[in-house]
């Protein structure tokens, strides 16, 4: 079990090393002649106005909140789905209650306009 996850660790490091290696390799092979105009931010030839680091639209935040709720819920649902067959009637009633609560929340978010794109 632990060895399996240590292999995941090796893959993690290896994947990063692969990315770093190719970038370094291309750094060695490429020609590098920068000049100020080339290093400007690309905006189709216009001069850049200010930075791009601005505040976010609030719609994104609402979607993120709803996403978070659903994502946590999936963490509960997966172990439940694995054991579903051995739990019998209890599981199906439980699932019914769980889904009702979830759907009420979802309906509320829908009604309040959290899912509208403005």
């Amino acid at each position: 079990m632990l060895t399996q996850y240590s292999i995941v660790g090796i893959l993690f490091l290896g994947a990063m090393a692969f990315g770093a290696f190719t970038i370094v390799l291309s750094r060695i092979l490429q020609s590098h002649r920068p000049y100020p105009e080339k290093l400007e931010t690309y905006e189709c030839g216009m001069e850049t106005q200010g930075t791009a680091w601005v505040q976010f639209k609030t719609s994104y935040f609402l979607y993120a909140l709803v996403f978070l709720i659903f994502d946590i819920e999936t963490i509960f649902l997966y172990p439940f789905a694995v054991k579903f067959q051995s739990l019998g009637l209890f599981a199906i009633v439980e699932m019914f209650i769980f889904f009702i609560i979830l759907i009420i929340g979802f309906w509320y978010a829908w009604k309040e306009g959290a899912l509208e794109w403005q």
Partner: protein, 349 residues
Amino acid sequence: MEFLNNIFVYIAQWIRETLAALGFTPVWVEMGMGTVYLVSILGVCTLAALFYVLWERKLAGYIQYRPGPNRLGPNGWFQTVADAIKLLTKEDVVPCGADKPVHLLAPVFIFVPTVLALAVVPFGKGMAAIDLDLGIFYLIAVTSLSTIPIFMGGWGSNNKYSLLGAMRAVAQMISYEIPLVFSLLGVVLITGTLQLQGIVAAQSNIWFVFLQPVAFLIFIIAATAETNRAPFDLPEGESELTAGIYTEYSGMKWALFFLAEYCNLFIVSAIGVTVFLGGWQGPLLPSWVWFLIKTHLLFSFFIWIRWTFPRIRVDQLMNFGWKFLVPLSLANVFITGIGVYIYYNGLGW
């Protein structure tokens, strides 16, 4: 026949025995095997990307009634090799306003979720690098990580196009992740296991695409959106955002994003095949050949979708995801649950 079927398993076994015979302790043998898996996964990634970039251009050409790349090598088959060499030697331009460490780290990180996801994909009988008990759950967790490097790239570039693209990418990927997760949940309800080899074995009689047709449809749509491909290619919609997140990337850094994009599509096809289309199971041919054939067909299907449908608007995208796919996938899980219960216990309460 049996030998061909197990050829990769034999090779892995041989390497393991050789390492053990050389006097390494079991821990180091495992570490050595990890490195072997790493090299083979990177090989699969690179080969798949090189092949599918060309295949997509070819197929797109045929769909649009033109030959596609056909100059370099027989029928243009060396085109991507030449492109790769060109990209490797291209100048890497970092804009002066960029957040340099973030801008540099994004393409380094973009490959991590891809490689981690390929580790559990069963390429054939007994041919998953690591057959985790958590299988599907691990896959979902790892593939959703790819939002982070994409957002890093968009933010680090300090370019309005990039940032808009990155915001759209994140919003889209989190919105379509929920239907994707729920569509796989239906299959887990039927099999009662998260292990991918177990799910493949459960499909020896009937493929889950026949038991879960709605889930398969949701999976295809959500997977297209997760990989940011047309008709859901808003994050890099060329006509409005230049190149979206990739605007300020050039040379090898851009190539890494591109490579990861194609690998991700390969992974998504592989997951679709494993979970819904019977995985590596099939008559006569070796299991890994079946796996590759099915994955290739599903990949081609994704290409077909891309070159057939026009891009949709961002509000349509969000509405479709939240107001149609999420309720539909919830209903699918619920009905599957009831169906599984009736199948095992009968109607007598």
